[in-house]
């Protein structure tokens, strides 16, 4: 890498480390990482306390880090322009993109340092808590691979239902609306199990489970409260045909979402499993409702918590790389107040859009507003903007490392790679090109 880029990165890091504001921010992060776990009361269980420590501490600190990175990114170039220190750099043989790259690398290095410190402190706090209650927190020591049941591909299912509902005969706009509705609704379509009936779901693993560690089945039933006391299901998890199996009974539906550990010793070497669930409740009990795409998982212990923490840190680092790139690009285009305002507004709009898009009811209400007359044009604009922002931001925001950490789920390598490539390489490269073009055109007037 060119000496110029390294020199600029070193300068950026040096300036930051000698800045009192960065020092104060580091102290604030340390206070959050060290103080928040001490303040949390948890849900009364040791495992719950560890989950909350992971989720709240890392979530709060990461939120602060995102804001700080965004505003620092905005200030790095626009601040240099305002104080005229950029003049002496621009007359040197350094291309605009190298200047941007050096600043980005410097900021990224600072973020990595802070993130590493944050994860180290949080990791120590978590391991300390787990040592105090080793058995109760055993499930959290190993991150589990989340395996969904083998179901027909969603795209194919959408086309089937689309054809069944007369989609090809509709006008183009209504076809688009119908496909959109099916994409939104089908993943959440529940399956109903009447009394006496049986479900069979198959799971395929890429590697056999560790027989020394339990397998877990996670259920989320859409069962109404009045039926919970009288519904019962007899279940069997079977490995290879003629191989081992485990029987268990589900009779406590007091919480909608729960996990059931199963002894994996019977499944040595198996990579295909079948879960059979038979509704054996009372005659008056209602159906069992479950959304197979959302509400059923086989969880297979794979990697230690420490490795999962590293993956989560890598995903969050890639997000910070994107945020830094965005801030730097805006700082190259605008003055500091305008850049910070645009960056904050964009971040808030994206967060709200993702939140709204994640709530199907909210999105449906916004879309309904489109069908009303002119007076709801503003709501239509809001709906389309939400959709567009969510679509643009989806690849960047798809990984949810903190939720996976708190649920003791493995962060899949594919998600990690996608996040690194998209958030840490491709999008920043786009920001770099945009910023370089702006810097080349921008005049540094007296």
């Amino acid at each position: 890498m060119s000496r110029a880029v390294l020199a600029i990165a070193r300068l950026t890091l040096r300036e930051a480390l000698r800045s009192r504001i960065v020092l104060l921010f580091g102290i604030l992060l340390a206070a959050v990482a060290g103080g928040l776990p001490a303040l949390l009361k948890g849900d009364g269980t040791p495992a719950g306390l560890v989950r909350m420590t992971l989720g709240y501490t890392l979530g709060t600190a990461f939120g602060l880090l995102v804001l700080a990175t965004l505003w620092t990114g905005c200030a790095l170039i626009s601040g240099d322009i305002a104080t005229r220190t950029l003049e002496l750099t621009r007359v040197k043989p350094v291309a605009a993109w190298r200047l941007w790259l050096g600043k980005w690398l410097g900021l990224l290095l600072l973020d990595l340092l802070l993130l590493a410190g944050l994860y180290a402190v949080t990791g120590l706090a978590v391991y300390h808590r787990m040592r105090q209650a080793p058995e109760a927190t055993a499930v959290l020591r190993t991150a589990r691979q989340q395996v969904k049941p083998d179901l027909p591909a969603l795209a194919g299912q959408i086309e089937q239902v689309f054809a069944r509902e007369g989609g090809p005969a509709l006008p183009a706009r209504e076809q688009r609306d119908l496909r959109r509705r099916l994409r939104r609704e089908l993943p959440f379509q529940p399956a109903a199990l009447q009394r006496g009936q049986q479900w069979d779901w198959r799971f395929s693993l890429d590697a056999p489970p560790d027989p020394r560690r339990p397998l877990w089945l996670r259920f989320q039933f859409d069962t109404d409260a009045y039926t919970r006391a009288i519904v019962q299901a007899e279940c069997r998890l079977t490995g290879s045909p003629g191989g081992g199996h485990v029987d268990f009974v589900l009779d406590d539906f007091s919480t909608r979402r729960f996990e059931r550990p199963l002894d994996a010793a019977a499944f040595a070497g198996d990579t295909r499993f079948t879960l059979s669930v038979r509704h054996t409740g009372e005659a008056s009990s209602g159906p069992l409702m479950l959304q197979p795409r959302q509400g059923l998982d086989l969880l297979v212990p794979r990697i230690p918590l420490a490795l999962n923490l590293l993956r989560a840190a890598a995903v969050q680092a890639s997000l910070l790389a994107l945020i830094a790139a965005l801030g730097l690009a805006l700082g190259a285009l605008f003055s500091l107040p305008v850049a910070a305002f645009c960056a904050t507004g964009l971040l808030l709009a994206t967060m709200i859009s993702v939140f709204v898009a994640g709530d199907p009811d909210a999105l449906e209400e916004l879309r309904e507003a489109r069908r009303a007359p002119f007076r709801n044009l503003a709501a239509t604009v809001a709906a389309e903007t939400t959709q567009a922002l969510t679509g643009l931001a989806a690849p960047a925001l798809a990984p949810t490392p903190l939720r996976q950490l708190a649920s003791a789920e493995q962060i899949p390598p594919r998600d990690l790679c996608r996040s690194l490539v998209f958030n840490a390489l491709l999008l920043p490269a786009g920001c770099c090109l945009l910023a370089a073009a702006a810097l080349r055109r921008r005049e540094l007037a007296p």
């Binding site: 220190t85 003049e87 043989p93 350094v94 540094l444």
Partner: protein
Amino acid sequence: MNTPPPVIEIRGLRKTFRDFWQRPTVAAVRGIDLSVGPGEVVGLLGPNGSGKSTTIKLLLGLLHPTAGTIRVLDADPRDTATKARIGYLPEVTCLHKFLTPAETLHYYAGLFGLDGPTTRARTRELLRMVGLEAAAGRPVGEFSKGMARRVGLAQALINNPDLLVLDEPTSGLDPIACREVKDWVRQLAAAGKTIFMTSHLLADVEDICDRIAILCEGQVRAEGRVQELLQRPDAVNLTLEGLTEAQIEEIRGELARRTGRAVPCGRPRIDLETFFLKVIAAADGRAGAPAPTADFLAASPRTGDGAAP
């Protein structure tokens, strides 16, 4: 014989600043034609607001011309390859306040792609040259204006440039520092560097420049060699030392007889700057000591990266 191309060539240069609505507000440069040959020291003079700094920034690619062409070292000034051979001292030295002088020079050396040993050697020499060895470990934010200017000059020389652009190099400096800067400029010129400077301090420019151009309201009003522009062809100065009063009267009388009019005679004055420096030097015990120069700059002319031409 092929004459080398001018180091700086400006033809029909214009710059008009515009507001947000793209309406012209200030015509800072209104048509400048200027050339600077290799090894020349050229001064661009003018009152405040005449367009000197704007011309400098256009030369360095910091501003985009509204019309006209600029060639620096026979290339577009915005090319990064061209910038490798230029050193620039801005009018206001805006440095990174958290860095020490040594770190500042290391940073700018890095931007030129200089390797570690070269950077360290040049940093040492330049800090010695500008007299900041003792303050090398202090952050630049604590420096006075003069000290910051010295750091600015050092960073302008870190790449051993072929062309040195100095914007008001002696602005804000005390007389001793002014003299040192002028000595450095002379030594650099003697080493074959081309120097293009702006100033509104006429005495400084008169001392060191070979050619001057006078800018006013964005246009060159006069241009030429200092000697030719300032010399009065119709008069003669004689300076004689060791004459008695009687001899002076005899000479005065002879000149009056030959010319037919009274010839003013008086004792010449040294300029205030020279007198001031003498007094200070006597007090400091530094009488006659020349300003040091970085060894690598005092050698034969080299290209920007330190390699022999």
